[in-house]
């Protein structure tokens, strides 16, 4: 069995992740931040330590500017729907996931109804999925307030130039929101150097935590008074008031958090920190380049993206001539024990950019736990399928 669906969610997890979650459920259990008894304080410490670990990984100066939530989609919704106002102009790319596109399309002013909404510019990318920062700068208008970029495509893995765009955003007084779903823990992210004002991350991919965890870093340039939380409710603070607290992280963390999940996320992030993102990245570059080269060497197979592992994450999309992705996926699973994802990967814009809309692709998403031997075996399986399809 080979698990190559890591771009959707990583598996297996480091053993420390489930150990931390079992420890929380059996040995802690209490609600963090809602009381002051010993177990409540233990629980609060666990959540706080996860906040610090995430902050260390992304070089966040103040971990209390990280708010936790269910996943990166919720984080991106908070940044977009919580911050943008009617009349604001937003710039994004042609490589976005629907976690960005759907909130933006939902807020976009309907063309038939004047300007009662958010204006949106989608900057095209190359067929390989690369973005020219100059095209972002050219799209800036007087009412532009934010640039939203996918750090790396979930379809073909291509890395977008967030640092270059971040500097452009600073020069023009704009905020940069980065969708770090595919890069957090797999590619270096430094919110100060890059520079990133809002970073959405998810816990269950390359941070190796469980599903149901994620969050948003909210930088100093973000006007917190303008940010509207997605939900309001109990925070364990300012309980005498019926109004939502106005400070981070409480204002954006109403209701009991997924503390058991955050215990696991903390263990996952510490695993990444101990191993080191650079070492993880080096391994992934090696196995990804081997996969790209192996697939390209097969007659009838088309590999998408830049074909250079140093310019992408460990996610590779391809198609076999004469075989729909759905059939390839089924046969890879049933005949070869290879688990992967096929189709449109929740990113129609990216598929239009790389020319695979509406059929989609077969996607192999690798993780630090995958090996060269698995890549070799998978390439052999694709070669067999391609030989039969021809």
């Amino acid at each position: 069995m080979i698990y190559f669906d890591n771009a959707a969610t990583t598996w297996p997890k480091p053993p420390a992740v489930s150990e931390a979650m079992v420890h929380f459920l059996e040995g802690v259990g209490a609600n963090p931040g809602r009381a002051a008894h010993r177990r409540a304080v233990m629980s609060g410490r666990i959540v706080y330590n996860t906040r610090e670990a995430v902050g260390e990984l992304f070089n966040v100066p103040d971990p209390l500017r990280i708010v936790f939530g269910a996943n990166v989609t919720e984080a991106l919704n908070l940044a977009l729907r919580g911050y943008l106002r009617p009349g604001d102009h937003v710039i994004t790319s042609g490589m976005e996931h629907n976690a960005v596109m759907r909130p933006l399309r939902g807020m976009e002013c309907p063309p038939a109804h004047g300007s009662d909404g958010v204006e949106l510019s989608v900057v095209p990318c190359s067929p390989e999925g690369f973005l020219d920062p100059a095209d972002v700068e050219a799209a800036i208008r007087p009412n532009t307030v934010m640039v939203v970029l996918n750090h790396a495509s979930n379809v073909v893995g291509t890395l977008l130039p967030v640092a270059d765009v971040g500097h452009i955003a600073r020069e023009h007084g704009l905020l940069l929101l980065v969708d770090g779903a595919q890069t957090g823990g797999a590619y270096p992210i430094d919110v100060q150097a890059d520079p990133i004002d809002l970073l959405g991350f998810t816990g269950h991919k390359s941070l190796h935590g469980p599903m149901g965890t994620g969050g948003l870093f909210i930088g100093e340039r973000v006007d917190v008074e303008r940010l509207q939380p997605l939900i309001r409710g109990g925070t364990g603070s300012n309980s005498e008031l019926e109004e939502q607290p106005g400070f981070l992280p409480d204002m954006c963390e109403s209701g009991t958090p997924n503390a058991v999940g955050l215990a696991g996320l903390g263990a996952g992030v510490r695993w990444v920190l101990e191993r080191g993102v650079e070492q993880i990245r080096a391994h992934e570059i090696e196995i990804t380049q081997r996969l790209i080269d192996g697939l390209r060497g097969i007659g009838g197979v088309t590999v998408y993206g830049g074909l250079d592992a140093t310019r992408q994450t460990a996610t590779v999309s391809f198609n076999i001539a004469g075989m729909p992705p759905s059939e390839a996926g089924l046969r890879l699973d049933e005949e070869h024990g290879i688990m992967c994802r096929v189709g449109l990967h929740c990113a129609p814009a990216a598929h239009k950019t790389i020319g695979t809309f509406p059929d989609g692709t077969v996607r192999f998403g690798l993780s630090p736990f995958n090996t060269l031997a698995e890549v070799t075996e998978a390439v052999g399986a694709v070669r067999q399928l391609a030989g039969e399809a021809y």
């Binding site: 963090p32 931040g33 809602r34 009381a35 002051a36 409540a40 304080v41 609060g44 410490r45 706080y48 906040r51 103040d62 971990p63 209390l64 925070t235 364990g236 603070s237 300012n238 309980s239 005498e240 607290p245 400070f247 992280p249 409480d250």
Partner: protein
């Protein structure tokens, strides 16, 4: 600790947990306790220290950027 304690009030549990860590690193004994009712109706926690550590504790927290709502003898 016991007689001669003080509590440091902060704005949220997250700040209290950070304060606990900062004071621990500074070698100052502290404990997170419920906020005494006569000081605030908040349901959160505050940081109990010895009154004798009041100055060093508040300085350590100030240096670490932990905003203090108030310090009270209890």
């Amino acid at each position: 600790m016991g007689e001669g304690d003080a509590v440091i009030l902060v704005y949220s549990t997250s700040y209290a947990l950070r304060a606990e860590k900062v004071l621990g690193n500074a070698g100052t004994d502290c404990k997170l306790i419920p906020v005494p009712r006569h000081l605030s109706s908040d349901c959160g926690v505050c940081v109990r220290i010895a009154r004798a550590d009041r100055k060093t504790a508040t300085e350590a927290l100030h240096q670490a950027g932990v905003e203090i709502e108030g310090v009270h003898d209890i």
